[in-house]
């Protein structure tokens, strides 16, 4: 997030786009409620009627994968009405002319046709957002999990810069991160192109610093992303994988493909706290410790580094993952001998400018938000005050491109995926929590009642959902949450793996798959007859 969670309360307008906030980030949704109570305007842009629209002033129900057209349309109106922040544009940005040229081609009527949003609502949304003193954007995977994910994010950056909503309190572009420590895993260099703190592996001076600190020659070539690794296994280029606490057999797009790759690989090592469909394919499985059984730090979505404290001992012979990794490393021939997570953080702080001032002693209270370059620094509540990292903020002129897979005659429905309130990702944790599993224990496919009439299915009936990649079965839940021919499925359930269906086509820059749009066909199913399913899955 460019800004902090508490600042959401102070916004005068909040635009939530591609985020099912009250389901996926409940405690951030409470801040939105408080802002509303203060009189803030709330715009929710989402293809489904998600719970938070009950609090909204305006729900923009865009067609799947049309976010760039929507955002360009809002900027078109803002520029036509002269609601842009000219002082901010002049002083802090560049390339506005290129943006204006592209946005000119997105008049409300055309945008309404692409997105399905009425012109009057587009105008109202542009007015609420642009006229607010402080406007904040919240987004999640509904924006990023597209073949145009980078375009979508850059478009939001354009909108925020055009109206001067960056670099000050209660504004910003705020991705709500989905995993407790996905921010930290990125910060720590768990990415193929950067070391800790986003220091590039191709930068020679940086590489030299790490070579000296680690006493090893380091590779200068950018590595493969997760989405590239599984195809590399099937191509015979990748022979071994180490997977720590992930479950790609359920979580990855086109997951039958992932399963095939993991069955073919020479060696698979999995470290996890539970047996998963991924660990079932491993050659060696090592039992890790859960969050309650070890020390360390997590970095949350507002860049706040917080302490994890040990409450109980790990069960049986399981042990903290950092110990497992260093024992493996030592046996591999590269000795590691950290006494504690605290000692590891001391090394991180030395090598990472944005974590330079982070020490366990300083984290005892509320934690610290990076950038925190030295031990005197109080941490950073919001980014980009006065200047952007690159100097001036760069407007990107972006044209709308449709999703990679559009519904057609053979696959007439569009499927989108997401979460439910009681489950989390592939369910490894929540489905092992009896209270949560009791609430929702099986998958469902949300379908518009009028589509159900055509397919002759009733609420609770079983259907087979098939895409070009495979098929799954699920019960149907009738709702008008999404428009006609748009269906929704959560991806938590191994029994009805939504990701068998999803499209692995990915964004050319971020390499993120298009989980949020794929084309499917749906057929009523006799639940006693699984033959249709197995033949489709074998595809």
């Amino acid at each position: 997030m460019t800004n902090s969670i508490e600042e959401i309360e102070g916004a005068d307008c909040i635009l939530i786009i591609g985020s099912n906030t009250s389901i996926a980030h409940p405690l951030i949704a409470t801040r939105v409620s408080r802002a509303k109570a203060r009189g803030a305007k709330l715009i929710v842009a989402d293809p489904r009627k998600i719970p938070i629209i009950l609090q909204s002033d305006l729900h923009l129900q865009q067609n799947l994968g049309t976010d760039v057209a929507l955002i360009n349309g809002l900027m078109h109106i803002i520029l036509k009405k002269g609601w842009q922040d000219q002082v901010f544009i002049d002083e802090r940005t560049e390339n506005i002319e290129a943006l204006k040229k592209v946005v000119e081609n997105y008049p409300p009527e055309k945008v309404s046709e692409i997105t399905g949003i009425p012109v009057a609502d587009l105008e109202k949304a542009a007015e609420y957002y642009a006229k607010a003193e402080r406007a904040s954007i919240l987004y999640t995977m509904g924006i990023t999990q597209h073949t145009t994910g980078v375009d979508n994010v850059k478009s939001l950056a354009n909108l925020a810069m055009l109206t001067g909503n960056l670099g000050k309190e209660s504004t910003g572009i705020n991705p709500l991160r989905g995993q407790n420590n996905v921010q930290g895993a990125c910060d720590m260099g768990g990415l193929p192109n950067v070391y800790t703190g986003y220091q590039a592996v191709i930068d020679q001076a940086v590489r030299q610093k790490f070579e000296e600190a680690w006493g090893a020659r380091l590779p200068d070539k950018i590595g493969l992303t997760a989405t590239e690794m599984f195809p590399a296994v099937l191509d015979g280029k990748m022979k071994a994988l180490i997977i720590l606490g992930e479950n790609p057999v359920v979580s990855d797009a086109d997951c039958l493909h992932v399963e095939k790759a993991l069955k073919a690989i020479d060696f698979l090592l999995v470290i996890d706290i539970f047996k998963t469909p991924t660990s079932d394919l491993a050659h060696v499985v090592l039992p890790g410790a859960a969050f309650a059984e070890k020390e360390g730090t997590f970095s949350n979505t507002e860049r706040r580094v917080q302490l994890l404290r040990k409450a109980v001992e790990p069960p049986g012979e399981s042990k903290p993952d950092w110990q497992i990794i260093q024992e493996l490393s030592s046996r591999f021939g590269y000795p590691m001998d950290y006494a504690s997570p605290r000692a590891i953080m001391e090394e991180i702080a030395k090598l990472t400018p944005s974590y330079g001032g982070i020490t366990y002693d300083r984290l005892q209270g509320d934690g610290l938000q990076w950038p925190c370059p030295n031990t005197e620094h109080p941490g950073t509540k919001f980014l980009h005050q006065g200047r952007f990292t690159r100097g001036k903020g760069l407007f990107s002129a972006i044209e709308y491109k449709p999703a990679a897979e559009i519904a057609d005659e053979e696959y007439p429905f569009q499927l989108t995926t997401g979460r439910v309130h009681v489950h989390y990702h592939t369910g490894t944790m929540t489905r092992n929590s009896p209270s949560l599993e009791r609430e929702i224990s099986e998958c469902f496919l949300e379908m518009h009642p009028e589509d159900a009439v055509e397919l002759k299915v009733a609420d609770g009936d079983w259907v087979v959902i098939a895409s070009r990649r495979g098929a799954v079965s699920s019960r149907v839940k009738l709702t008008d949450a999404a428009g006609r021919k748009t269906v929704f499925m959560p991806f938590h359930f191994l029994e009805s793996r939504a990701n068998i269906l999803t499209n692995p086509a990915f964004d050319p820059i971020a390499k993120i798959p298009e989980y949020k749009v794929c084309a499917v066909k749906i057929q009523k199913m006799d639940p006693s007859d699984k033959s249709i399913l197995s033949s489709a899955s074998a595809h």
């Binding site: 995993q179 768990g190 979580s251 039992p287 969050f291 012979e317 046996r331």
Partner: protein
């Protein structure tokens, strides 16, 4: 009976709510929201309130396992770690560093992510390291 609460951070979403784990005689028995956390101000969602349940699940992995034919069988730490290190070394020697990939975890700590990427880069010698940020 000995009871204590331990202030820590929730392992579910990116909010990073503060919570107090309730420990009775060395066993995790419940979860309470932290009233002093800058994130959640004494509130938790339904997943947060029940976070102790998965930790104490009888389905947790408790022993290393190695594959013998079609099944995974329990093993000692020594055997499992030696097998993993040996196989990885063999593959590195035969096919090169870039024939190995590493998926680190958005559910693990900063320190664990740091040591795993260090292992990938300095020990194996590859930048093939990523995690589920895209998923």
């Amino acid at each position: 009976m000995e009871f204590k609460t331990v202030l820590t951070s929730c392992p579910y979403c990116g909010c990073g709510c503060g919570l107090l784990l309730e420990v009775l005689d060395g066993k995790l028995v419940g979860t309470l929201p932290s009233k002093t956390s800058p994130v959640n101000h004494g509130k938790l969602c339904v997943k947060g309130w029940t976070v102790h349940e998965f930790v104490t699940s009888p389905n947790r992995l408790t022993k290393p396992m190695v594959r013998k034919g079609d099944t995974l069988q329990e093993s000692s730490w020594d055997d499992a770690l030696n097998l993993a290190a040996t196989r990885l070394k063999e593959i590195k020697e035969k096919y090169g560093s870039d024939s190995i990939g590493v998926l680190t975890s958005a559910k693990c700590t900063n320190e664990e992510n740091y040591v795993l990427q260090k292992f990938a880069r300095a020990a194996i010698g590859t930048n093939n390291i990523d995690h589920c940020a895209r998923l």
